[in-house]
C-alpha cells in the first residue's frame, strides 16, 4: 500500500507541476501586453516602463517562472492586475460558490442516475430501459449553455419558481445545478447500467438466484456492491469535469464562482488571476481523482493486493 500511495502522490505532484508550467508559459508566449491593457493606449512610454518594473515583467522569463513556482508553494499567486488584491483572496471568495454548485450538481446527478441505471439494468430491453437510455443520449447531446436558458425560460420566466441568475438563497442554486448535473446523470446512468449488467451475468449472481434470494436482494447485495467500483472512478473523474463545465454554467447563470472569475479575467487580460483560476481548478481535479483512486483501492482489496 505505501508504495502505491507514494507513486500516486508523486504522479499528482508531477501533474500539478506540469500544469503550472504549461499555464505559465502559455500566458507569457501569447500576444497581448497586460501593461497596455491596464494603462490604455494613451499612456506614456515611461509610465509603461515603470509599471512593467513594478510587476516584474521586465525580468527574464526563466526568473519570473522560478519566482512564480516559489510563490505557488507558499500559496502566493501574486496580485490581480485589475482588482489590486491578492489572487489567493479573490479565489478564496469565489471557491465556496463553485464548490456549492458542483456538489449540488453531483448530488442531483446521483439521485437521478442511480435509480435510473438500476432500473434499466434490472429490466433490460423494457420500456424503462429504452427510456433511461434515451434520456442518457439526450443528456449528453444537450449543451449546458442551451439547457440553462431553456430552464430559465420555463421555470423562471414562465413559472417564476426560481431566480433567473445570481446567487441569493437556496432557490438560486437549483437551476444551475440541474443544468450542470444533467449531462453527468446521463453518463453516470449509462455506466451504472452497463456495469450492473456485466455483474448480473456472473456465476455468483446465478447462484444467488438459484438459492431463491429475492430479486431485490440479488440486485442490491450481490449486483450493486460489485458493480459500483467502476462507477466510483467515473464519479471522481466527472466531479473534475463538472468543475471544468462549471465555467460555462456559471457564466450562463451569473454564478459568482471561480469559472466566471476566469472568464472575466480573460476578458480583462488579468493574467495572474487567469493563472490562479486554472491552477485552482486543476488542483481540485487532481486531488479529487487522487482521493477517488485511494478510496477505490481501499474498498476493493483486489486492487490493493495486486499493486503491492
Amino acid at each position: 500500500m505505501p508504495a502505491y500511495l507514494i507513486s500516486r502522490l508523486f504522479m499528482a505532484v508531477w501533474v500539478i507541476f506540469g500544469v503550472t508550467t504549461l499555464v505559465f508559459f502559455l500566458i507569457h508566449w501569447v500576444p497581448g501586453d497586460p501593461v497596455e491593457v491596464m494603462l490604455g493606449e494613451s499612456a506614456s512610454a515611461a509610465d509603461r516602463e515603470l509599471l512593467r518594473q513594478a510587476l516584474g515583467l521586465d525580468r527574464p522569463v526563466l526568473q519570473q517562472w522560478l519566482s512564480f513556482l516559489a510563490g505557488v508553494l507558499r500559496f502566493d499567486l501574486g496580485d490581480s492586475l485589475y482588482h489590486q488584491q491578492p489572487v489567493a483572496e479573490l479565489l478564496q471568495a469565489r471557491y465556496a460558490a463553485t464548490a456549492e454548485l458542483a456538489v449540488t450538481a453531483l448530488v442531483i446527478a446521483v439521485l437521478i442516475a442511480v435509480p435510473m441505471g438500476i432500473l434499466a439494468a434490472a429490466r433490460q430491453g423494457s420500456v424503462w430501459d429504452l427510456g433511461a437510455m434515451g434520456f442518457s443520449l439526450l443528456g449528453v447531446s444537450i449543451p449546458n449553455f442551451w439547457l440553462g436558458p431553456l430552464l430559465v425560460m420555463v421555470f423562471s420566466l414562465a413559472l417564476g419558481w426560481f431566480p433567473v441568475s445570481g446567487r441569493s438563497g437556496v432557490a438560486s442554486v437549483v437551476l444551475p445545478a440541474i443544468t450542470l448535473g444533467t449531462s453527468m446523470a446521463a453518463v453516470l446512468s449509462r455506466m451504472i447500467r452497463s456495469s450492473l449488467l456485466e455483474v448480473l451475468g456472473e456465476d455468483f449472481v446465478r447462484t444467488a438466484r438459484a438459492k431463491g434470494l429475492s430479486t431485490y436482494r440479488v440486485l442490491i447485495r450481490h449486483g450493486l456492491r460489485n458493480a459500483w467500483l467502476p462507477v466510483l472512478t467515473l464519479l471522481g473523474m466527472q466531479l473534475g469535469a463538472l468543475l471544468g463545465g462549471a465555467v460555462v454554467t456559471e457564466t450562463v447563470f451569473n454564478w459568482p464562482g471561480v469559472g466566471s472569475l476566469l472568464i472575466e479575467s480573460i476578458q480583462r487580460r488579468d493574467y495572474p488571476v487567469v493563472q490562479g483560476c486554472v491552477l485552482l481548478i486543476s488542483l481540485t481535479y487532481v486531488v479529487v481523482n487522487l482521493l477517488t483512486d485511494l478510496l477505490y483501492s481501499w474498498i476493493d482489496p483486489r486492487i490493493r493486493l495486486e499493486r503491492q
Binding site: G244, V248, N289
Partner: protein, 268 residues
C-alpha cells in the same frame, strides 16, 4: 428508421455547410423595422436584435461548426495517430515522454485548457481550431498507442519485420488497418465534442467574432431577449442539439457495427 433521420440531419448539415457561400444569404443585413421579429412569412425564423434574419445566420453557423469540427478532428486524429503509433512502435525514450504528456493532459479538464488558450490567444476561428486541436490530439494518441501495443507482436508484423520491410510501411500497411476501427469510433464522438466545444467557446465570447455567426454566439446574443424573443435561443439551440444528437447516434451505431469493445477486449 432511427438511422434514417440522424443520417439525414448530418447530410443536410454537411451539404448546407458546403453550399452556403453560393446561397443568396444576407446574414449581416441589418434592418431596423425587423428587430426581434418573430418567425413569419418574410423571415422564416424571425429576426435578431439587429434585425438580421435568423435563418441566414443559422446557416452561416452551420458552416462555422462544420468546418471547425472537420479541421479540429482531422488534425487531432492525424497528429494523435502519428505520435501514438510511432511512440508505441518504437518505444524507448519517446514513448516514455509521450506517456508523461498524456498523463498530464488526462489529469486535467481539457475544456479548461481550451478556454484558457482561446482566451489568451485572443478570439478568432484560427485560434479556436488551434486551442481545440492542442487539447484534442492527446485522446487519439493514447488510444492509438494502446492499440499498437496490443497488436505489435502479432505474427504478420514480425514476419514483415523479418522480411526487412521499412518501419513507415509497417505502420501504414500492417498496423494502421488493425487499429483504425476504435479510432474511427472515437473520432465520431470527437465531432460531437468539438461541435459543442466550438459553440461553447463562442458562447463565452472566445470563438467566432461578430459579424460572423456561430450557433454558440447566437445563443449568447439571444439570452438577453429570452422573454420577448425566445426564437433567438430556440433556433440555434435546436440546430446544435440535432447535430450533436445525430453524431452521437451515429457513433453508437458505428461502435456496435465495428464491435470495438470486443476487439479491445480480445487483445492480449
Amino acid at each position: 428508421m432511427r438511422a434514417g433521420w440522424s443520417g439525414a440531419v448530418l447530410l443536410l448539415w454537411a451539404l448546407l455547410a458546403l453550399v452556403v457561400p453560393w446561397l443568396p444569404l444576407q446574414p449581416e443585413q441589418i434592418s431596423l423595422p425587423a428587430i426581434l421579429q418573430p418567425p413569419g412569412a418574410h423571415h422564416w425564423l424571425g429576426a435578431d436584435d439587429l434585425g438580421r434574419p435568423v435563418l441566414d445566420r443559422l446557416l452561416m453557423g452551420a458552416r462555422t461548426s462544420f468546418w471547425v469540427a472537420c479541421w479540429v478532428v482531422g488534425l487531432s486524429v492525424l497528429a494523435g495517430t502519428l505520435i501514438g503509433t510511432a511512440a508505441a512502435y518504437f518505444g524507448g525514450l519517446w514513448d516514455r515522454a509521450l506517456v508523461l504528456i498524456i498523463d498530464i493532459f488526462m489529469a486535467f479538464p481539457g475544456i479548461l485548457l481550451a478556454i484558457a488558450l482561446a482566451g489568451l490567444l485572443g478570439p478568432g476561428i484560427t485560434n479556436l481550431v488551434f486551442a481545440l486541436t492542442l487539447v484534442g490530439w492527446v485522446g487519439y494518441a493514447r488510444l492509438a498507442r494502446a492499440q499498437v501495443l496490443s497488436v505489435k507482436h502479432r505474427e504478420h508484423i514480425v514476419a514483415a519485420e523479418a522480411l526487412g520491410t521499412r518501419a513507415p510501411r509497417i505502420l501504414a500497411w500492417h498496423l494502421l488497418p488493425l487499429i483504425s476501427a476504435p479510432l474511427v469510433v472515437e473520432a465520431t464522438f470527437g465531432v460531437a465534442a468539438v461541435v459543442i466545444a466550438e459553440s461553447g467557446l463562442s458562447f463565452l465570447g472566445l470563438g467566432v467574432q461578430p459579424p460572423d455567426a456561430s450557433w454558440g454566439s447566437m445563443i449568447r446574443d439571444g439570452v438577453r431577449y429570452l422573454l420577448v424573443a425566445p426564437h433567438l435561443v430556440l433556433a440555434p439551440g435546436c440546430a446544435l442539439f440535432l447535430v450533436v444528437l445525430s453524431v452521437n447516434l451515429l457513433g453508437d451505431r458505428l461502435r456496435d457495427r465495428l464491435d470495438v469493445r470486443s476487439i479491445a477486449r480480445s487483445a492480449p
